[in-house]
């Protein structure tokens, strides 16, 4: 058995630089705030002297203009899955070792490629397009190949014996041994795998637990650990955190190009097509916003979808800055070149979207909104309307005398009125763009209506609502 292991030590950072960064040469680091530790370092940051394992204080002392990316295990995991999906086009038995590595079983594919060399050439070609830095090695077990790849040998060994031999000079730091075990070995003067391999297993067994023994056996190529094999998802989903907040939706297109291409590649590889994409926008100060992009007929061409997206993005007004997005493709159908009834058959599933789409087309973007309730002294902000689907039904009880029927925006008071209650003073909202300074009163007009009126800081009078 022969395994090829690929290690992506800078997965999150490289992906960011390749796909998202505006300045590819910025001093970028992936930072773990919990441990105050730099985990991944870009070339520019490394040349400033920043190294993995440093704290933020030391790193920022070395380079004051560093850009931080908070480390995300989930994000690396997603990227790894995406990579596996891409490699699945050229290899079958893939094992994921989250968050930064994957292993490919070479034995079954040699049959298809005639030689390991042919496959490896294609493998490099595929990975080079991702822009990720990686190290690789082969070995009789996943563990052997992993340790060699982490040791950056970047070699395809002709025989497994060569791999085991190469492993002898590796230090313990490249292994998957726990920190505790490595320290224990170091304190006995054992710093290389060569030294570990020389110790009789029986002696190791007296001193260490079974996990360690199994691992050593696997490193030596004597034990295969069963691992689940990767199966690509039947659904396309792509998620991305933007490097900076976007205020203008059209600027999102640049970040969508690659995911849409991947989506279309996914559809083609599965012989699928779709008539709708779902773009979920993650906004800074508002709940996420869902955008449905529909085409008249099923499409699987990236350029077609990008043109549609471009048109759609022009219409979108962001309610707050955009931090990230998710692109999904759920409504897929098997691609038949002759089929032209697809849309009609699936109509019921799209009913809601169709209605929303029709409403949006008829009434315009700003006219279709859903209400939600928020705790705020300022009545104007208590029931904001939002364009997202999420409803906030949490009961919020406003203080003071306040009518149910509000006029938004408040209207200048023109009736002659008589004050029957008040004032109720509101001076707040200094932190956002809606500071208010008002004295509210309840007044009656000649028609006997009870009005909620206020006097603003310029002593101007307004009607803000009616009591039933």
């Amino acid at each position: 058995m022969q395994w090829l292991y690929v290690d992506f030590p800078f997965l999150q950072l490289d992906h960011f630089i390749h796909e998202l960064a505006e300045d590819k040469h910025a001093a970028l680091v992936v930072f773990c705030p919990v441990n105050n530790e730099i985990l991944q370092v870009s070339g520019t940051a490394a040349s400033a002297g920043i190294q993995r394992g440093m704290g933020l204080a030391q790193a920022s002392a070395l380079q004051s203009s560093i850009q931080l990316l908070p480390y995300s295990f989930e994000s690396e995991n997603r990227l790894l899955t995406l990579l596996a999906s891409q490699l699945y086009q050229i290899a079958s038995d893939i094992v994921l070792l989250a968050p930064q590595g994957l292993a490919i079983k070479l034995d079954p594919i040699i049959h298809y490629y005639q030689s390991v060399g042919n496959f490896v050439a294609l493998f490099h070609h595929t990975l080079q397009q991702t822009g990720l830095r990686y190290h690789f090695a082969t070995g009789p077990t996943v563990e052997t190949a992993q340790a060699l790849a982490k040791g950056k040998v970047d070699t395809i060994y002709e025989t497994n014996a060569q791999a085991i031999c190469a492993l002898q000079s590796a230090s313990l730091a490249v292994t998957a041994l726990s920190e505790k075990h490595i320290t224990q070995f170091n304190r006995m003067g054992i710093r290389s795998l060569h030294a570990v391999f020389q110790i009789p297993l029986e002696e190791l067994g007296k001193r260490f637990d079974n996990t360690l023994i199994s691992y050593v056996l696997a490193l030596k190529g004597n034990k295969h650990t069963p691992r689940p094999v990767f199966h690509p998802s039947q659904r396309f989903q792509y998620q991305c955190e933007l490097p900076f907040e976007l205020e203008d939706s059209t600027r999102l297109l640049r970040f969508l190009t690659h995911p849409v291409e991947q989506c279309c590649a996914f559809l083609k590889s599965h012989n699928l097509t779709t008539d709708s994409l779902v773009l979920m926008l993650h906004l800074a100060d508002s709940p996420q916003q869902q955008i449905n992009i529909r085409s008249g007929a099923p499409l699987h061409n990236a350029q077609d979808w990008l043109s549609l997206l471009s048109l759609k993005l022009e219409q979108i007004e962001l309610t707050s800055p955009l931090r990230g997005f998710q692109l999904c493709c759920d409504n897929t159908v098997v691609f038949h070149a002759t089929s032209d009834h697809l849309f009609a058959e699936r109509f019921s599933k799209h009913a809601e979207n169709m209605l929303m789409g029709a409403l949006l087309a008829k009434l315009g973007q700003n006219a279709v909104q859903r209400p939600k309730v928020r705790a705020d002294h300022r009545a104007d902000l208590q029931v904001p309307f939002s364009k997202d689907k999420e409803e906030n039904s949490k009961a919020v009880i406003p203080q003071g005398q306040q009518p149910c029927w509000l006029i938004s925006p408040p209207r200048p008071l023109t009736d002659s009125t008589r004050i029957i209650y008040g004032p109720e003073r509101l001076q707040t909202g200094w932190w956002d763009n809606y500071p208010v300074k008002r004295d509210y009163f309840i007044a009656t007009n000649a028609k006997g209506q009870r009005l909620w009126v206020f006097r603003d800081h310029d002593s101007q009078w307004f009607v803000h609502g009616y009591f039933s």
Binding site: F31, P33, A48, G49, Q51, L56, A57, Q58, S60, A61, L62, S64, L68, P70, Q184, R187, M188, G189, I190, R191, S192, I199, P200, E203, K206, R207, F208, R374, A375, D376, H377, V396, I397, P398, Q399, G400, Q401, Q402, Y421, P423, E424, R425, L426, Q427, T428, W430, W431, D432, N433, D439, Y440
Partner: protein, 1032 residues
């Protein structure tokens, strides 16, 4: 001017705000007590009550502000309580009895709860007999119940507080309080329940509220104050809001409150004075006894005259009990052989010398006690007593036992928002990401005096015009100096005759079994209350241990007076002048060491100056160079006037000590005693409050008016700023100099005992055990390794005077296990691992011993020992006799041994890393520390060493002082800011640093290397490790 009828009416209806919270209602009140009383006075209020929640922590500041600024407003002391959401009330103190009652209630409520909380019982409220109650009905259906309850228990001393806060419930509330008032016959007073002095503080109040509840300001929602009404308001506004009767009632209630904090008088514990004596006669008795002991040959007339003068001054100020309290504590310390040393303004008097509070012989130092306690300056005497740091707890327990916990508590320290905490907290509640805030904070260099923090942040690209950033900046600034919580003072005890809680509330501290009062040292000073400082000092522990070792080895009863008796020893001062002062108290830092050869101290008083001169005060005030020049006769000693001469003659015309600066303000700038006292306090906290600048013009004008030059005046002001929080008074320096001299004497005459005692008292001082051991070896002392069969728990001395490292040095070995080994060691020593297992040591303990190479007598080497220890089967009973190991590991190389030594002992007695590199031929054209003497001044030099310190003092103008160490000694390197910036990566990350630079030698022989090129040589050691492995 004709006063309108309305205004006349207002004057007739004087108003008092009787429910008002300052920022001592932590994270609720948004104004300082001083701001509240100033505003109340400005608005013409008759009185203001500071009623913080279950606290009187802010009242002293309000009282002091009224007193010092002569404000025409009366302070009523009180406190607010939230018994339940439906029952809120404030207690006010009409008289001293009521005040004691309030303190008792607060104490009870606080003592039942963990630090920072309180829990009031119904009984507490029922027990009120003297306080006035202002009930604040909430409009809930429970008002009826609490109205009846109050009417039943407190009729005649209960008022209703009514507030019109324009929040939509005013009419309901007015109707409710009117009904309750009629029903229960409680008069109504108007109150805004102010939480700030000005409406502008609303954003800060919202921010505090959000910090308290852990939300963002936006998330506060309806919880947040909806308008500015809960602030102090002008009388004209109040008359529009409230019926006249309610305003008038606040005034009539105020008139019944006659209590003032000035009435509080300290009652000293009476048991200090035996029957048949008065405090005065007993103090004299003790002093006379002391004279016999301290001056066996009899006292001279001049000393007798000073003693009489001091006693008369103590008597006239009524400080006898204070001296007797400290006398009692030090007597106890003596009885327990706990070493101590008094210091402070009064400690260096002859009376204190006779009472054995201090060992500073007044004949050695021309101390005028009057200079320290001055009637005119009206400041309380200051005596701090340092005790051995390992045994201070015994003294604390003695105080608790003697006076009881009811009568003893620690003074508080008010923890305030400093820049970083304020910035972070404000940023969080304004919705900024924590990681973003941390990043910004890390970019700010607060020591950079040229660019302010706002400008530094703006240079990172922050938009100062954006609304969020403007709020972040302005609210952070307002929050600076706001109290956050009360903490305990390091050792300031307040002891009273009766229960302390009748004088001031007592609450729980974070530390178990510690209680703190609600006032800090400034508050205590304002009220003229005395505290006794019981502090901890590591050097005293070390000195006592050294004395014990000398006694044990030579049967020589050495003590501080024993050393002092011999006077100034020229040989000891020779060593000091050579800066051979590693481990010496106060003069061991690098800055002190570079000054020693320049100042060349030759007597005790020189040490007093030496200790005080290497401080930011004299350095920033540019006093060091003139002093040295005058001392070496390179500059004439002149004085601008006779008055100045009287103050500065002992320091050759240059102000060095804090007292001199204060005295100069008095004699040269015409400050009164009271003003000088305010100046002293402002100096102590000027970084926090910035109050010092208020004195600038007065000081400079005062001096120029009296004929001094503006430059001299400015220089003095600069020095006052420099002294600030780092000020060093002569009275403290004098006591420290005694310990500095004693430790130097011990190092010179008994070096083996000196290092052993020092290492046994660690952690303390400036140097790590590794550096102390290296210094010991450099002084010819043989250091023996830790050994399971020879080491005690502590480091010890062999009969031959070799220093045997103790088991305490082994990292990862518990103290219990180490002591257990020393106590249960077989007479023949341990001969195998099983014995260690059998005597109950854990696997971790034995592994720690193995790595420290302490098992070398029973195993081949440390790796082998560790390997054997890891064999779990060996610890099973079946294997207790036979030890079979079929596989053995290779022995460590010298380099590996050294690494293991540092990892498990934090020191190595064998090779230094640089020595190893030199032996391996890795270093070329390098000059070692000991050979620097052969390099000429201004000649190029290459040095290499372990980086053991990087210091960038604010006084050094961007220079970083780097200390590197090779196997022959330490090398002082100066790295200019530009060199450091250009070679940042090396400068910040190198552990082994090679420096190509220029040697600079002062005429006193002090060598510095001015760094040019910095080379990171961390790789050299890695190479050595690889090489060493290749051999096996």
């Amino acid at each position: 001017m004709i006063l309108s009828g309305l205004y006349m009416d207002i004057l007739a209806d004087m108003f008092s705000e009787l429910v008002c919270q300052s920022n001592f209602s932590f994270l609720e009140g948004a104004s300082h007590p001083e701001e509240l009383v100033n505003t109340a006075s400005f608005y013409g209020y008759e009185a203001i009550a500071i009623t913080d929640e279950c606290s009187v922590a802010g009242v002293v500041r309000a009282w002091q502000e009224i007193k010092s600024s002569n404000l025409p407003v009366k302070l009523v002391v009180g406190s607010l309580f939230n018994f339940s959401p439906a029952f809120r009330f404030a207690l006010l103190c009409p008289n001293k009895r009521a005040y004691s009652e309030l303190c008792r209630i607060i104490t009870n409520a606080r003592r039942r709860s963990p630090k920072g909380q309180y829990s009031l019982a119904e009984w507490d409220i029922k027990s009120v007999r003297d306080c006035f109650i202002i009930w604040l009905p909430t409009g809930s259906d429970q008002d009826e119940h609490w109205g009846q309850w109050l009417a039943k228990h407190h009729l005649g001393r209960c008022w209703i507080g009514a507030s019109r806060l324009l929040d939509g419930s005013d009419s309901l509330l007015f109707a409710n309080v009117t009904r309750l008032s009629q029903q229960f016959q409680f008069p109504i007073i108007a109150t805004q329940q102010a939480v700030c002095h000005h409406p502008d503080r609303q954003p800060l109040q919202h921010v505090l509220h959000a910090i308290r509840t852990g939300k963002t300001v936006e998330e506060l929602g309806f919880e947040a104050l909806r308008n500015h009404e809960r602030s102090l308001k002008p009388l004209t506004s109040l008359t529009r809001l409230y019926p006249r009767g309610w305003i008038a009632e606040s005034s009539s209630l105020t008139k019944q409150c006659v209590f003032s904090l000035g009435e509080l008088k300290y009652q000293y514990p009476s048991e200090l004075v035996p029957e048949g004596f008065s405090a005065t006669t007993y103090l004299r008795h003790c002093v006379e006894q002391g004279i016999v002991k301290r001056f066996p040959e009899g006292v001279s007339n001049s000393i007798r005259a000073t003693i009489e003068k001091e006693l008369a001054l103590i008597h006239s100020e009524g400080y006898e009990y204070f001296f007797l309290t400290i006398y009692d504590i030090v007597q106890y310390a003596q009885s327990q052989q706990i070493l101590y040393q008094g210091r402070g303004s009064a400690a260096n008097s002859i009376v204190c010398y006779c009472l054995e509070i201090t060992a500073v012989d007044p004949r050695q130092i021309n101390v005028l006690f009057e200079r320290f306690i001055s009637k005119e300056r009206n400041e309380p005497p200051d005596i701090d007593v340092d005790f051995e740091h390992e045994r201070r707890e015994e003294i604390i327990q003695y105080i608790y036992k003697k006076y009881g916990r009811e009568r003893t508590a620690l003074a508080a320290t008010v923890i305030t928002f400093r820049f970083k905490s304020a910035f972070r907290e404000v940023g969080k509640v304004l919705g900024f990401e924590e990681a973003q805030l941390s990043f910004w904070l890390k970019q700010i260099n607060l020591r950079d005096s040229t660019v302010g923090w706002k400008a530094q942040l703006a240079s990172l690209g922050l938009d100062r015009n954006s609304k969020a950033i403007t709020h972040l900046f302005s609210i952070t600034e307002s929050l600076l100096g706001f109290p956050r919580h009360l903490s305990q003072h390091v050792g300031g005890f307040v002891i009273s005759a009766g229960p302390l809680y009748e004088l001031v509330p007592v609450e729980n501290a974070a530390m178990a079994d510690r209680t703190v009062i609600q006032w800090d040292k400034d508050d205590l000073e304002s009220l003229g209350l005395l505290k006794v400082d019981v502090l901890a000092l590591g050097m005293l522990t070390a000195i006592r241990k050294i004395f014990a070792l000398i006694e044990q080895r030579y049967q020589l009863p050495v003590s501080i007076p024993f050393v002092s008796k011999y006077g100034d020893d020229p040989q000891v001062f020779d060593a000091i002048c050579k800066a051979d002062t590693v481990g010496i108290f106060q003069i061991e830092s690098r800055a002190q060491m570079s000054m020693l050869p320049r100042l060349k101290p030759r007597c005790y008083y020189d040490l007093v100056v030496q200790i005080a001169i290497v401080r930011p005060g004299p350095i920033q005030g540019d006093m060091v160079h003139p002093y040295l020049q005058r001392r070496h006769g390179d500059m004439p000693v002149t004085y601008p006037s006779e008055e100045v001469k009287s103050v500065l003659s002992r320091t050759m015309g240059v102000p060095i000590f804090q007292e001199q600066v204060i005295q100069l303000a008095m004699v040269a700038a015409g400050f009164t005693g009271g003003e000088a006292d305010q100046l002293r306090r402002a100096m102590a906290s000027w970084k926090k409050t910035g109050k010092l600048y208020q004195f600038k013009s007065k000081l400079i004008d005062g001096m120029t008016e009296r004929g001094y030059t503006a430059a001299f005046a400015q220089q003095l002001f600069d020095q006052i700023c420099g002294f600030g929080e780092y000020g060093f008074p002569e009275s403290h320096s004098a006591s420290f100099a005694v310990l500095a001299y004693v430790s130097s004497w011990l190092k010179f005459y008994f070096p083996a005992e000196f290092y052993t005692g020092l290492l046994n008292s660690w952690p303390m001082g400036f140097y790590s055990p590794a550096q102390l051991v290296k210094d010991a070896q450099a002084h010819g002392i043989t250091v023996l390794p830790v050994c399971i069969n020879h080491s005690q728990y502590d480091h010890s001395l062999t009969k031959a005077g070799e220093l045997r490292l103790g088991l305490r040095q082994v990292k990862g070995l518990s103290e219990t296990a180490a002591k257990h080994i020393a106590n249960t060691r077989p007479p023949t020593g341990f001969i195998n691992l099983s014995q260690l297992h059998n005597c109950g040591l854990s696997q971790t303990d034995i592994a720690a011993l193995a790595s420290a190479n302490a098992l070398s007598t029973i195993s081949a080497h440390r790796y082998d020992a560790r390997w054997k220890v890891a064999d779990t089967q060996q610890s099973l009973p079946l294997f207790t006799t036979a030890e079979t190991h079929s596989y053995s590991l290779a022995a460590p190389s010298v380099a590996e041994d050294m690494i293991e030594d540092y990892a498990s002992l934090q020191l190595s007695i064998d090779k230094h890393p640089i020595a190893l590199l030199a032996e391996a031929g890795k270093l070329s054209r390098i000059t070692f520390a000991r050979d620097l003497i052969n390099i000429g001044h201004k000649k190029p030099v290459r040095v290499v060493g372990n980086v053991i310190g990087r210091q960038a003092p604010a006084t050094a103008g961007g220079v970083t002082f780097v200390t590197i160490e090779d196997h022959t000694g330490n090398i002082n390197v100066i790295v200019w800011q530009n060199s450091a910036r250009a070679q940042k990566a090396t400068f910040l990350t190198a552990r082994i640093l090679e420096i190509h630079g220029i040697l600079e030698r002062s005429k006193e022989g002090v060598c510095h290397v001015i760094a040019g090129k910095l080379v990171n040589r961390n790789d050299l050691f890695d190479e050595l490790m690889i090489k060493s492995r290749d051999f096996h």
